[in-house]
């Protein structure tokens, strides 16, 4: 198991800068996911770690030892590329055995080990097939087998699930996780799919424009994003402009809202902030018919009256757009009940799920 340390790494293509003094630390044995929009430099970072590119500045260390002077073949890395690049002129077995053969093992001595990993990725008996005789999912699994067969110190996965359909993706995700667990390889996985990242990883980082925006456990990033960009990138959320009243209250267009305790620096700065309320954390309560529309001031615990504007059913969930006195809110609810447009409801916004973040002018939209 290897700890990977990336220190102040910069990289430009020609004059076009891609990575800017990027720092990242991945602990030994962790499944680490790098999440970021297309073109933010994820593949570039993986290629730097693999030694397929040289950084302009900074250092990359495995267990404290710089690997910059080592060529790719000297780094003992397993890599699964974005476009699965099995060697088309080799059989599955020859593909998987390639790394072993490059380390001086004959094809016959390699066979037991090859069969073992093929079994691990549930492709036992496919030895003789050529890549074009396999489905996309099978090819992806061969690529994984080929990468792990040599016991690499580090596994790099570049969007390993991007070419698969939804069901295969679930299977493959589970497979990736179990393979990684059973081998205990430090793994860096790149994706732009946030659910994938959240499900797979021990730790993750969100990356924008060649910089790490935030790094932490999936729960940390999900619950306490440091910026609007991170919050929006991690899935459907509501960002409400607000003004802090005290550490646990903010004034918004919904009225005063009870929030989770505000981070010290933000409170000290007394800035205008944003409240981050994830769509699935807002609870819908049917409105009491005869009562006057409840207002936040009158109901304790962040209750607010709303009207359903639209609802869309999608995969076991209902996605609502709500109108609260002119302020739009998005809400995701389970589908065993569905409110029709025009219905009046009460929304409950749990204070522990209202995080305060800096208003970073919302330069990013996904």
């Amino acid at each position: 198991m290897t700890r990977v340390h990336i220190e102040g790494v910069s990289k430009s293509y020609d004059a076009h800068p891609v990575l800017h003094a990027l720092d990242l630390m991945v602990d030994a044995g962790y499944f680490f996911t790098l999440l970021g929009p297309s073109g933010c430099g994820k593949t570039t970072l993986l290629r730097l770690i693999a030694g397929l590119l040289d950084p302009d500045a900074g250092d990359i260390r495995f267990d404290g030892e710089s690997v910059l002077s080592r060529p790719p073949e000297g780094r003992n890395i397993g890599m699964v590329f974005q476009q699965h690049v099995l060697f088309p002129h080799m059989t599955v077995e020859e593909n998987v055995a390639f790394g072993l053969r490059m380390r001086g093992t004959g094809i016959r001595e390699a066979r037991p080990k090859v069969n073992e990993v093929l079994e691990m990725v549930q492709l036992a008996g496919y030895n003789r097939r050529f890549p074009r005789q396999l489905s996309g999912g099978q090819q992806q699994r061969v690529a994984l087998a080929r990468a792990v067969v040599v016991d690499p110190v580090l596994l790099l996965l570049d969007e390993p699930l991007s070419n698969l359909d939804a069901r295969l993706r679930d299977d493959m995700r589970a497979l990736l996780r179990s393979v990684q667990r059973s081998l205990g390889i430090t793994t860096i996985c790149v994706t732009h799919d946030q659910t994938e990242a959240i499900e797979l990883s021990d730790r993750m980082a969100v990356m924008f424009d060649g910089k790490i925006a935030q790094e932490g456990s999936p729960a940390e990033l999900f619950e306490q994003p440091v910026s609007a960009m991170v919050a929006e990138f991690l899935g459907s959320t509501n960002l409400l402009p607000a003004r802090l009243l005290d550490r646990s209250h903010a004034e918004t267009s919904l009225g005063p809202v009870h929030v989770r305790s505000c981070p010290d620096q933000l409170y000290a700065a007394q800035e205008d902030v944003l409240l981050n309320i994830r769509c699935e954390h807002i609870a819908i309560l049917p409105a009491v018919e005869d009562a006057e529309a409840p207002s936040l001031a009158r109901l304790a615990g962040n209750h607010v009256a709303a009207e359903v504007v639209s609802s869309v059913y999608r995969g076991g969930l209902v996605f609502y757009r709500m109108n609260v006195d002119g302020t739009p809110l998005s809400v995701i609810d389970r589908s065993d009940r569905q409110f029709v447009p025009g219905a009046r409801v009460v929304l409950r916004i749990p204070p522990e799920h209202v995080s305060v973040i800096r208003d970073d002018a919302r330069t990013f939209s996904s």
Partner: protein
């Protein structure tokens, strides 16, 4: 069914003029050469068809055997050299970032120059009174320009091969480079991360992928070298000539009764290069099928 066959007929009718012209231009002369080589040439007062007399004369002669080896030598050596060099340069151009654009530009220039201009260039550079001889003389490396080693018009045929390489290295280069460009760097990189050094990544992964390009371009180069006459005619030794040169010489003999010999040469050239290309392609297809690709 009617409509379809009607369509087909219309298409065939539409294509007929072009097809007939092609047949007339390609197959016609070949057939003519064939019957002439077997002794049917009433216009020269020969009417012995069918006879193998001319083949016997041609194939039995020393000259023919020398010409055959000579032709093979001229066809094979530049083909091998330009295939290796063109492929190596293409790989270099595809791998290295800096300088590869220059390489790609300059190396393609000879492609737009006709073979004959290439020949003139080689003469200007490498003949005994040529630029290089004079340069060496000025530098004091040879006593007289006449001491410059005889490259042109010699049986070693370096003059001919220089012209061929001048034209054919770039040809192989662009064909292989385009295959490499279509392939992208990922295969090579995957091999590198799996522990292959640059050379082994090339040999085990890149080379098999670019093989079709290499085979195609070397085939075309070989076929051209085997059958073309102008460069060996201009820059080769007077004896032996290559097969096409010998054919031309027979053709130009004042004695028209010997013209079927020229035609026999032509038929031998056609048959020989046809067989060589067929065997080469078949061997390659077999190898390819064993690799399961394509």
């Amino acid at each position: 069914m009617n409509r379809r066959s009607g369509n087909t007929r219309a298409i065939l009718l539409g294509l007929a003029p072009a097809v007939l012209t092609l047949l007339l231009l390609f197959v016609g002369p070949l057939l003519l050469a064939l019957v002439q080589s077997f002794g049917h040439a009433p216009m020269f007062g020969l009417q012995e068809f069918p006879t193998v007399r001319f083949y016997r004369t041609v194939l039995g002669s020393r000259r023919f055997q020398a010409a055959l080896w000579y032709t093979l030598y001229y066809a094979l050596v530049p083909t091998i050299l330009s295939t290796v060099a063109g492929t190596a340069l293409a790989v270099a151009a595809s791998v290295r970032m800096r300088g590869s654009r220059f390489l790609t530009f300059f190396i393609r220039l000879p492609l737009v120059v006709p073979y004959l201009v290439g020949a003139a260039l080689v003469v200007a550079l490498f003949s005994n009174g040529g630029l290089i001889a004079r340069l060496l003389y000025l530098l004091g490396m040879i006593e007289a320009t006449g001491d410059f080693p005889r490259i042109l018009f010699s049986a070693g045929g370096w003059g001919i091969m220089l012209v061929y390489l001048f034209k054919q290295v770039p040809f192989v280069f662009i064909v292989v480079l385009s295959v490499l460009a279509g392939m992208g760097p990922e295969y090579r990189e995957a091999a590198r991360t799996l522990g292959a050094g640059p050379w082994r990544a090339f040999r085990h992964v890149v080379l098999p992928r670019i093989m079709p390009g290499i085979v195609t371009s070397s085939l075309l180069v070989f076929a051209f070298n085997f059958q073309s006459y102008e460069i060996p005619y201009l820059l080769g030794a007077s004896y032996p000539g290559t097969l096409p040169v010998e054919a031309l010489r027979r053709y130009q003999l004042p004695n028209l009764q010997r013209r079927p010999e020229a035609m026999a040469y032509v038929m031998v050239i056609t048959a020989f290069s046809g067989v060589v290309l067929f065997l080469y392609l078949r061997a390659y297809r077999r190898w390819e099928r064993s690799r399961g690709s394509l």
